[in-house]
């Protein structure tokens, strides 16, 4: 657990703090209370979905439209959780623990766990994710509150910088996977297909990108290895 928390301090904590400072000030601009902003971060804990929710709420979209958009934006959490869970399972662990710790799966904690867990002894993997996730979760809560309190007080250039942190950080995390052929191909194909599918159908584009891009990357990998 300490190892995970330790790996989350430094760069991941800083970058995630900056991203959620941006969310805090965005929540203020949308006329939420600080309690509401904190509630969204505590329970949603997946920034792209929170941003989409706020945007649609602000323009008065219906609950159905908002939940569908949030569901489709956060769909990544299904394949992410599915691909990480087999490493986390150990005999004798009560099932509720998996369901509780699953809430801590978000892009940053997932990237770290995917890299680290295969090399850890099986009984240390779930605690690693827990330590990493709890530290980041705490940081995001503090950052959401601070961002809310400081909203309007920072120059526009800084608030623009804060909302730019998240996509650029995610892009670099993805670029960091180039040594793994399957992941590299999936990232490259997904980055090309994503915008194309978005122009065809914004709502379903992420689902299509994941399934089509992931399948192509998977099949290319199989063909290359001659299986």
């Amino acid at each position: 657990m300490r190892g995970g928390a330790w790996d989350a301090t430094g760069t991941p904590a800083l970058v995630i703090a900056a991203s959620f400072l941006g969310f805090g000030s965005m929540a203020k601009a949308a006329d939420l209370s600080m309690g509401m902003a904190l509630f969204s971060t505590a329970t949603g804990w997946a920034l792209p979905g929170q941003v989409v929710m706020l945007e649609l709420y602000a323009i008065g979209a219906s609950l159905l439209v908002i939940s569908l958009a949030v569901a489709l934006t956060n769909m990544r959490l299904l394949p992410m959780t599915l691909s990480l869970m087999p490493y986390l399972r150990t005999p004798g662990t009560p099932r509720w623990r998996y369901y509780a710790i699953a809430h801590l799966i978000a892009v940053t904690s997932w990237f770290h766990a995917m890299r680290k867990c295969p090399d850890l002894p099986p009984d240390e993997r779930l605690p690693y994710l827990a330590g990493h996730g709890i530290l980041l979760w705490t940081v995001t809560m503090a950052a959401t509150g601070i961002g809310y309190a400081l909203a309007g007080a920072v120059p526009p250039a800084v608030s623009l910088g804060l909302v730019a942190v998240n996509p650029i950080y995610f892009a670099l995390l993805l670029a960091n996977e180039y040594a793994n052929p399957l992941r590299r191909n999936a990232v490259l194909i997904g980055a090309v297909l994503g915008p194309i599918f978005f122009l065809l159908d914004p709502d379903w584009s992420l689902l299509l990108t994941g399934v089509v891009g992931g399948s192509i990357a998977f099949l290319v990998g199989r063909a290359r290895s001659g299986r």
Binding site: L82, M85, S215, G221
Partner: protein, 108 residues
């Protein structure tokens, strides 16, 4: 809009979001850690993430849309270049990329 409404919206959004994580745990018992299914699911996860990042940069929701496309793409290029040239220093890459977005936004 009433105060109650945003609580409903946030609660539903949170349930929908956790639903994916829940489903991931529920379905994962059938996947072997060394099998082809896991490789495929991993490919789907990375492709979907890449698609999401491309969407966030090209068709941003929220305040990032205030920066022109040129600023967002320049920020990405500068961030990637700094990251690769610094032997994959993440914090340096992110900082350079973000400063790049702001600089091009101001210059544009």
């Amino acid at each position: 809009m009433s105060q109650e409404w945003i609580w409903v919206v946030m609660t539903v959004a949170a349930l929908v979001t956790y639903g994916w994580r829940f489903l991931g745990v529920a379905l994962s018992g059938r996947i072997s850690p060394s099998g082809a299914v896991l490789d495929w699911v991993g490919g789907v996860a990375y492709a979907l993430l890449a698609g999401l990042v491309a969407r966030m940069l090209l068709f941003p929701a929220g305040a990032l849309g205030e920066a022109p496309l040129s600023a967002r793409l320049a920020g990405l290029a500068i961030g990637l270049a700094a990251f690769l040239l610094s032997r994959r220093n993440l914090i340096l890459g992110v900082t350079c990329g973000v400063v790049g977005v702001i600089a091009v936004r101001i210059a544009a």
